[in-house]
């Protein structure tokens, strides 16, 4: 019972945080920061090259976005540098700490 209560509370909290992030525009800013960092560290180029390989291999006519996403996701996740993850986490923490009414 307590477990389920916690799950509901967690979900509510998640929804509130998400709403705050969107409302303040912080979500867009974080996305932009992430985008920039990933471009800077070469992640985007690496992944783009990988996408091209997959498309070439399977043929443009025989692949959907979904299939491509499924194919590259493991590599994409693995290639994100720890420093980028850490910085983003730090920024999210910093943002949450500033929000007094959550």
């Amino acid at each position: 019972m307590a477990d389920q209560e916690r799950r509901i509370k967690d979900a509510q909290m998640r929804a509130t945080i998400n709403q705050k992030l969107v409302e303040t525009g912080e979500r867009e800013r974080l996305k932009e920061v992430l985008r920039t960092k990933l471009i800077e560290c070469g992640w985007r180029d690496q992944l783009k090259a990988h996408c091209k390989d997959v498309v070439k291999q399977k043929g443009l006519e025989h692949i959907t976005v979904d299939e491509l996403v499924a194919e590259i996701t493991p590599k994409g996740r693995a290639l994100v540098p720890d420093s980028v993850k850490k910085e983003l986490l730090q920024r999210i923490r910093h943002f949450l700490a500033q929000q007094s009414n959550i």
Partner: protein, 520 residues
Amino acid sequence: MGTRAGGSSCPHVVALKESRGLDTFRIILSNFVYCRSPRARRLKAQSCICHDCGTTADRLHCCLDCVYFGCYGNQHIQEHAKSHRHHLALDLSYGVLLCGTCGDYVYDEDVNKVLHEEKYRATQGTHANGTVAWQPSSNELNLLQHNPKRRKITHNSTIGLRGLINLGNTCFMNCIVQALMHTPFLRDFFLSDKHECLMIQSQNHCLVCEMSRLFQEFYSGCRSPHVPFKLLHLVWTHARHLAGYEQQDAHEFFIAALDVLHRHCKGDTDHTNHHNPHHCNCIIDQVFTGGLQSDVTCQACLGVSTTVDPFWDISLDLGTHLVQADSQDILTAGFLTAGASAITNGISYTSTSLTDCLKRFTRPEHLGSSAKIKCSHCHSYQESTKQLTMKKLPVVACFHLKRFEHSTKFRRKISTFVSFPVELDLTPFMAHRRNGLDTFSISPGEMCPTPASNENRYSLFAVVNHRGSIDSGHYTCFIRQHRDQWFRCEDDIITKATVADVVNSEGYLLFYHKQLVEYE
């Protein structure tokens, strides 16, 4: 983006464009994807939930035919498309179109154009506008087609390395030019042709234009040494104290060159604006200007008066003990006292480090009784302490080690070894107290300046060396290419060097650049 129909748009998108156009698409984009106003953001925050399962994640999409939001992860948007025969939906994270009937995302040039326009409009006036991808204009496309020659920069290419002929004791100039040519931010500025000359009447005299030409010379791929006679002539006309074939100080030349460049960026020799370097936004100031904070603390009332002054370089003392005795004196002193400790003491003094010099530079200094200052708090003349710290770090930090000593008694060169790191963190020398206050005063709506751990880190990219005595000698320099390749430049001769060669050399001017640069 993958398309089923081999590059052409899906029939449903074609039908949409013909019947209703892309207005609905644009309105949804500007309200729910690239919000233009705080109101739109609030609406987005409240209404972006899946109408079937209530999730806010799982790739939400918005139907283009009716008011319906559905998630992709649980198939709700796909089911909606099938059951209502509403083919098209818009992805709310990226704004791309999904055709539920064809079963894939659609690439369409018109749709893409609207997407870019809305994205651009939303990012205008915010921090993000520096990151909009470059789209070549028709003019640029034309230029690219007419100039098919391309140069590929690989990790071992030598483009950018070029010797400079010595025009008669001009090594002081050559080594600074090498350092400037390998300053990443200047290189990017000049190679992207950003300089617009404002010296309309005398374009031939503009030193910035000459720099621009020099960058073209250096990065042309030509391997024969360049003859910088035009530059020398400009230096002679604009900085008269450096004219003539005598030996000059490289540091003096560096400061004079920055000063002339800075003046010419503004397009005139008019000195009225010149007194206000704080508000200059020329490339020289963007790259080299930092802010030095001086805190004078009154010893009577402990009141602090703070001033911030701009700087282009930092001149560092190598330590006062060296002024009193050179190595010869220390040795004889050691013999006289017959104490081994004196010798070891003396020897330990003879080498120092950049960090030590910076510590000495930023430590509180007691201004003696002969230098009493009127305190702005208690309005009396009191003894005080003064401390210098870095208020604003420059993008490129230049450290000048004061190896040449000119005093009333003697003039000489201090050849002490000063160790310096390849990577430098300037955090300990920052004005912390004031920074703390500033962080608090930032309103929550602005970008949070989260102190990333590597924010104040620098990398070494050029070192100017001097060998010889105070009266005659020779300047050479080390410069860095790519990430970690070093080269030694001695006028027209360039040789490969190792990092060890660089850090063991007798540095005179040290150039560091910031590792992380914020977008403006």
